[in-house]
């Protein structure tokens, strides 16, 4: 079965998740654990970087849906960056860009968080 590798970084008050591999029903619980830990630690500003992600299934998309509300209730957000065309198409077909912020570059996402912080 295809694998998913998750790495996390901290960039100021923003936490970045780097995903690589396959995000599907079998690997989704791994990502859920990462989000649960962030919520426990009070970290609500999340950027998910998809640079290395090859595939996302509906169960993978469900993970973001499940957690974005909690982040937003705590004045945070989940923002998406560095999506390959095929992965972005999946988000796009579902209409996610209407609800979530997508960026080509990680810096833009970080800048957006900092900008919000000033307000």
């Amino acid at each position: 079965m295809a694998e998913l590798t998750i790495q996390t970084r901290e960039e100021g008050k923003v936490n970045i998740i780097d995903l690589s591999g396959y995000l599907d029903a079998h690997t989704a619980p791994q990502l859920e654990n990462v989000f649960n830990k962030f919520i426990e630690e009070g970290k609500f500003n999340i950027v998910v970087s998809f640079t290395e992600l090859q595939y996302i299934s509906s169960a993978g998309l469900g993970v973001f849906m499940a957690y974005v509300e909690t982040m937003r209730e705590n004045n945070g957000d989940i923002k998406f960056t560095n999506l390959s065309e095929s992965v972005y198409n999946i988000f796009d077909l579902l209409g996610f860009p209407m609800l979530y912020e997508f960026f080509k570059d990680e810096k833009e996402a970080l800048a957006k968080f900092n900008e919000q912080g000033k307000n």
Binding site: A25, Y55, M65, L93, L94, G95, L99
Partner: protein
């Protein structure tokens, strides 16, 4: 050496014995005072046969059931006591036996004969009892030794009888046979291995029993040997009878002396023997448990109750490792709270590194003075500790330690088995769940295409092993309207199947009231609010076709694009639309974009789920929309049925070396203009 008539069954032996007894009895009455040699010899033969068949019968009777040595010894004691009683009464009643027997009347003679029979039966029973005891707990078959001894019994009796006919001419022969018989009796008496297998209590009882029986046999030997009663009454009855009784009683004296001393010497080790026996039996219990480890609670309970037995402790409890702590799961002879408290007291903080049996002396906690624990490990990984505790101050000896360590290994294996069983049950349960989900799915989706002169419909539906939650449906509505939908519930298994069933209910009830497909999706989304898990969502595409005019309205809620085949040209349509059950604010309503088409004659509308385009080959390369278009364009003028088989063939060829991961569903609708 085989004894005669040994192949007779028990009931036949009894029959023979009874018949012989009656014959002998009549013979005695008839030839009471005859001194002819022929009659006397016949008398002896009849006696030997009678005694022998009674012996045979008692041997059979005593080997029929599992005999208990204690009850045999008890019965023997009663019989001997009764014999002594008879002898005592007889001696007290008659002063001069020589005169008395010589002048006896018929009635008295009958009584004498019956008394003699009592002694024959008693002696034969006692001898059979000795044989039964003799055969207890013997590894090899020792029956030959006993049979040889019986043979010498006969020879001694024969020699004795011969002497009484011919003066003491054969005296030395008689003495020789007698000595050999005594030696054989002594040798056979040494076979008392069964004593070792009695428990302590039984050994003590046996010790008293053997003293009692030894006294009884000695007493009867003294009162009957050479007494007037024996010589005159029994000796007159049959010359060999006194010697038969003498030998049997001698056997009794020797045998019970041996039993007495053996039991005496076994007593000090009796307790140790009992303990070993208990250890063995508790290990057997546990090995049974290993194979029956279906009930975890039962397993835990048995572990603590057996560990008390195994190492001679008073109290035991079992602590099982949880994620970052230990949890008391089973106790014996102590409460959970107390066990937890003592565990905290005696177990060091770095318990994870404990590798061996550890004993701790503690001061009077709950009457406990010594406690010890042993780790339970599966393949080197710690799963818990088994605690044992004693009220006595002196701790556990080497034997206890060895036993509890061996026991801990057994416990580890039992736990591992229980875990494996749990996993396989879980797996089976999951399998059943998937079967149910698949069944639900098959019942929900239509199995036949709708029939109408203006449309041809074909579809392909291939549920994955782990049921994906794909759904499609068709509705022929009034005024030649045709509604079609394809949807994909996120997630898998039974939960996806249930959401799918719910969706079908919603669609079926809305399809006749919704004004447009867009209206239907908005209403569906509103109904789904709060009914679906946050993580789940549904993508759907649906359309309403006016079959007369070919006018069609189409909407998409996060689903894969629609394809339209016109001639040999495929166009992709993906009007805006958020997936269902993702957002319940106005954003969803606004996002849905309704497309209006005018279909041309023979145009084909193609809907599919992502299971089609995300089907992958062995290298996980996805099939993609372009490949799907290729399958369709192989034969653009074909019927929908032919197109469907072309698509199915294309997919199965592409995925032939990999396994199907998601449901594969597609729907083809061809519009035919009425002429």
């Amino acid at each position: 050496m085989k004894i005669p008539f040994r192949s007779l069954p028990a009931n036949k032996r009894l029959e023979h014995a009874v018949v012989l007894s009656i014959v002998f009895f009549l013979f005695r009455i008839v030839f009471q005072f005859t001194d002819k040699t022929g009659i006397l010899i016949a008398n002896e033969v009849l006696f030997v046969l009678t005694a022998y068949f009674w012996l045979l019968y008692f041997i059979a009777a005593l080997s029929e059931k599992r005999i208990k040595p204690m009850s045999i010894a008890f019965n023997t004691g009663i019989i001997i006591a009764f014999n002594i009683f008879v002898v005592a009464i007889a001696n007290a009643a008659v002063d001069d036996w020589t005169r008395f027997t010589a002048s006896a009347s018929l009635i008295i003679n009958i009584i004498f004969t019956l008394v003699s029979f009592i002694f024959i039966l008693s002696a034969s029973f006692v001898l059979a009892s000795f044989r039964a005891l003799f055969l207890l707990q013997q590894k090899k078959d020792p029956r030959n030794y006993f049979n040889v001894m019986l043979f010498f019994f006969m020879l001694s009796m024969f020699a004795l009888t011969m002497n009484s006919f011919s003066g003491d001419v054969f005296s030395f022969v008689e003495t020789a046979f007698f000595i050999v018989t005594i030696i054989l009796i002594s040798i056979n008496s040494l076979r008392v291995a069964w004593i070792a297998f009695l428990n302590k209590k039984e050994k003590i009882t046996l010790l008293f029993f053997s003293i009692l029986l030894l006294s009884l046999f000695t007493a009867i030997l003294i009162v009957s040997m050479d007494s007037d009663f024996t010589m005159n009454l029994l000796g007159r009855f049959a010359k060999s009878l006194p010697s038969y009784l003498l030998l049997v009683n001698l056997y009794g004296v020797i045998y019970f002396s041996v039993i007495f001393f053996t039991t005496l010497f076994h007593l000090p080790t009796a307790e140790a023997f009992d303990r070993k026996a208990e250890e063995v039996s508790s290990l057997i219990d546990l090995s049974k448990l290993i194979t029956r480890a279906f009930d975890e609670e039962e397993l835990l309970k048995t572990v603590t109750s057996l560990s008390v037995k195994v190492c001679n402790s008073d109290i035991s409890w079992l602590a099982v490792k949880t994620v970052d702590d230990l949890e008391i799961r089973s106790v014996n002879g102590i409460g959970f709270k107390e066990a937890d408290r003592i565990t905290g007291m005696i177990l060091p903080d770095d318990y994870k590194s404990i590798d061996d049996f550890t004993e701790v002396a503690i001061e009077q906690v709950n009457q406990i003075n010594t406690a010890a624990f042993v780790p339970i490990k599966i393949h080197g990984a710690l799963i818990g500790f088994l605690f044992i505790a004693k009220k006595e101050k002196f701790g556990f000896d080497d034997d206890d330690i060895q036993s509890i360590k061996a026991f801990a290994d057994y416990v580890a294996v039992a736990f591992e088995n229980a875990e494996l069983i749990k996993k396989s049950i879980e797996k089976e349960r999951l399998q059943k769940e998937l079967d149910v989900a698949r069944e639900v799915q098959y019942k929900i989706v239509p199995s036949e295409s709708p029939k109408h002169k203006n449309i041809d419909v074909a579809f392909g539906f291939l549920p994955a092993f782990e049921v994906g939650g794909d759904y499609y449906d068709f509705f022929l509505l009034p005024n030649d309207k045709f509604f079609f939908i394809i949807a994909d519930v996120s997630g898998k298994g039974i939960s996806a199947a249930f959401i799918m069933a719910e969706l079908r209910g919603i669609i079926s009830s809305l399809v006749s009231v919704a004004e447009t497909p867009k209206d239907l999706l908005i209403k569906t989304n509103n109904i789904l609010k709060g009914r679906i898990d946050k993580k789940s969502f549904i993508t759907a595409s649906c359309g309403l076709l006016d079959m007369k005019s070919g006018k069609m309205k189409f909407v998409r809620a996060g689903h894969m694009p629609m394809l339209k085949l016109s001639g040999n040209e495929i166009t992709e349509y993906a009007p805006g639309g958020l997936g269902l059950a993702i957002n319940y604010t106005g954003i969803f309503d606004e996002s849905i974009e309704e497309l209006d088409f005018q279909l041309n004659n023979n145009d084909i509308v193609i809907l599919f789920t992502d299971g089609v385009t995300e089907a992958h080959d062995e290298n996980l390369n996805l099939l993609g929309t372009e490949k799907l278009k290729e399958f369709i364009l192989v034969n653009p003028g074909a019927s929908v049925a032919e197109l469907s088989s072309s698509i199915m063939k294309g997919i199965s060829e592409y995925t032939r070396l990999s396994s199907q991961y998601d449901d594969i569903t597609y729907v083809l609708i061809k519009w035919k203009k009425s002429i």
